[in-house]
Symmetry: C4
Subunit: 277 residues, 4 copies
């Protein structure tokens, strides 16, 4: 997977996930905040659950496709782990990436079970997400032996986003539905996505001039560049958040909630996000 495409693909995946999550959490938060003016018409508890099921099915599907792709592409290991003839491991890189997909697949499966049945506590989906991100960071951490300085550096910077997401997701086990943690996780996901693209551009540049992978000025620039990516990710999240907030409010104003005098808000739609644990 040591190619431009091999970094652009997961980058795109995390970018889309981050934007999707931002939209979802912003919508639900806007709905909860404006409950008194009837916003619960927009997202009922049943529709939230349906959304979660769709999201996790898609996640599960892509994890499965990812695992298959890593195994059966041109130079993949095709499920062989050890070459007994020549006594070496087969394509450990591909196996590592398969393992990362596996844990995201597990997180998707568990979330799917939680939201279709009532067998397990709700907060388990955040724990599985935390474990999936932690596992990704853990494999990256022991992934970098013997590479050149800048190569190690760009991957180490990625660990800030990955372990950051793991910690935030773990905190959400105890503070479920906290919009600040949710938006921070979205920002870090988008940061991870855009940084994968950046790694691709640095290590496999399309132009003729390569980066000097031993130059400390490059490392200094790249570190700063990471901050810019974070600022960019936070900008994307805020623009999305504000847009959705405004749209929800303007739609609520156009169609006044007539039945509000008849029913107490509490009775109509329990706030699903408050069911902590």
């Amino acid at each position: 997977m040591g190619s431009f495409k091999g970094h652009a693909l997961p980058g795109t995946f995390f970018l889309i996930t981050g934007i999707w999550w931002t939209g979802k959490y912003s919508l639900w938060y806007a709905t909860r905040r404006n409950k008194n003016i009837g916003s619960t018409r927009l997202t009922s508890r049943a529709s939230q659950r349906r959304l979660e099921i769709i999201e996790n099915s898609v996640l599960l599907f892509f994890s499965f496709v990812g695992m298959l792709a890593e195994q059966f592409v041109a130079n993949g290991p095709k499920l062989h782990l050890y070459d007994f003839a020549e006594k070496h491991w087969e394509q450990l890189m591909n196996w590592q990436h398969s393992t990362m997909y596996l844990f995201f697949g597990l997180a998707g499966t568990v979330s799917l079970i939680i939201h279709t049945t009532e067998a397990a506590p709700l907060a388990l989906d955040r724990l599985m997400l935390a474990i999936a991100f932690f596992n990704q960071g853990f494999l990256f951490l022991y992934h970098l032996h013997g590479r050149s300085m800048l190569d190690v550096h760009v991957h180490q910077l990625l660990l800030f986003a990955i372990f950051g997401e793991a910690i935030i997701a773990f905190l959400e086990v105890f503070h479920r539905g906290n919009i600040i943690l949710e938006l921070l996780r979205c920002s870090l996901t988008i940061l991870q996505g855009s940084w994968f693209w950046q790694i691709g551009f640095v290590l496999y540049p399309s132009q003729s001039t390569d980066w000097d992978l031993q130059d400390h000025n490059n490392a200094t620039f790249i570190t700063m560049c990471y901050s810019w990516h974070l600022a960019f990710a936070m900008l994307v999240v805020s623009v999305l958040y504000c847009t959705i907030n405004c749209v929800v409010r303007s739609r609520l104003k156009r169609t006044p909630p007539m039945e509000m005098g008849l029913l107490k808000p509490r009775d109509r739609d329990p706030e699903s996000e408050d069911e902590i644990l």
Copy 2:
């Protein structure tokens, strides 16, 4: 204790402990969740307490046996610490393992006192468990001087599980009875157990071909292998959890709780796990 058996024994111990804990916590959680359909018949508070006393007696017994075994096996130090004639320490490895057993024994003793008398706050048992795991990790941390690369690496990976368990047990002091933390601790215990077996297979292989302890490809494979062990541990925990959940529900359906109309659930059996601190 540098032998295959020396790693298989604690491995088996932690595997059994992990599975036992998964069963216990799953049963109690299923009982708490289904209280309204009469599940408290299955585990009363008195039976919970009896279970804790049995569990901690067994733990205490095995810790004691472990300490004796480490001291009095063929090449053990037999309670001698320093050889004044030849001026060297006697069998420091065995003494270290005895110390690890000692702390698990202390945790067992304190839990036993807590659950038989009312002298100390309930949460103390989790603190003692956290200290026992922390002590195990602390001794392992300074245990690895001068070994070969792969040997150090497989033991360092073990520290993720050990310190993870210490942190989770410490969090349980404040969030007692949180099923998510409990199941995570169970998974990490099973991970520790199966990883001890893996260490045994890597360092003392039964087949003719030894592992090259300086090869970085082996280290990369072993890191990934650790993720698979974690996935396996989570699988075992989920299967056990679901089975117990289903069994509890089906047993409750077969024998309807007749007395439920007569007594309010609250009056019958206080939820022991909620007595935080």
Copy 3:
């Protein structure tokens, strides 16, 4: 910015910020504590909000000026990032400092939006502050390659204050209005400010005798000196806190709250700091 002035300027900035924050939080806390004897006359909720808006406008203004200054001073990069002719990065130091200002500017902008509109949850301002401090520490961390021992050491000590502030600000997301965390953050800000001055004196001494940047005795002294700066910062914060507390009480005693019998305190002025999240 490698000059005495380049360290004195941010030092002064952080010193003023720390003192300002101490005053603000002490006043609000004294007001909240003495609510029953009518202190809410001194700071109403509207005036608190006005204060926040002014503070964040000033922060935004100075961040903008800082960014411009870093770019357009005599030897600044003037918005050029890469010199394609000579193939090297333009003034990476100035670009890094601009990036630090950028994140403080972002924190100011978001706070301004939060306190003028009601679009976002209140706790977001603390998260942005935490991210701004974290970003500052992050850039400093990868800033020190190839410098002399004492130079690296004085900058590393600074990281204790910076990352300390980031952690405290993050904790305030969950414990908003906790005076102990607020005063600790103030102390660390003043520590950061006075330490910048100390760095200036050590690296660019005005007298003839330079410091030996490789001498370990100097490093030992500097470490101890950092503790003294912390003690000094805590002293400044306590003196300010006590003074403001006394002034508030004496002013309340002189002008007795006549209307207190007419209105219940609760009805008059909700305690803005309790609106956690």
Copy 4:
């Protein structure tokens, strides 16, 4: 202070502090738990406050004496910091120890102010204690340059206890009166005290045979020895806790609380430890 006495003195100080704290917190906890059978006769809120004032006065006195002793003993710096003639720092070790005493003195002063006046929030005393321990660990951390292996190792082990105490004291800011955290802090204080004695015996042995400071077997033994000190500290704390618990109960049984029928317990004595923050 590099002598046996120089380690035995702080050791004794921390041992006494740890035992004193264990007694104090055990008594208060026993009092709170047995409130319904009239235990509040034993410790009223006023007597608790008096105890705190005495404790902190003693702490302040010893910190002051410690600072003076470090400065004016035979080879002390006598408040001179820099020898301008020979261009070297004067006795940096003594200055460092003075700084450690200074922070414990500050913690004592602030606690004294908190418990005599009502100017500051109660939880501030734990924060000052956390800062005093953190400062001690911070100075020890940069204290070890150029020493022999075992010397560095025994001091590094000490950091586990010191930073542990800092973290526990910081947690107590939010969980004040949690007996588990309090007893853990007591154990770590006794551990610190007994370990100072151990360091004295290792580095300045009274017998003829010195320890080989480069031998890794010694380091392994010392690490294990640290675990034994922890077990010993926990034993001391538990014995004290149980004794005090029994004494409180037996005294309550002998003199039945006659007035209990007349006054509701709540009205008589508010539980001071619950005034979190």
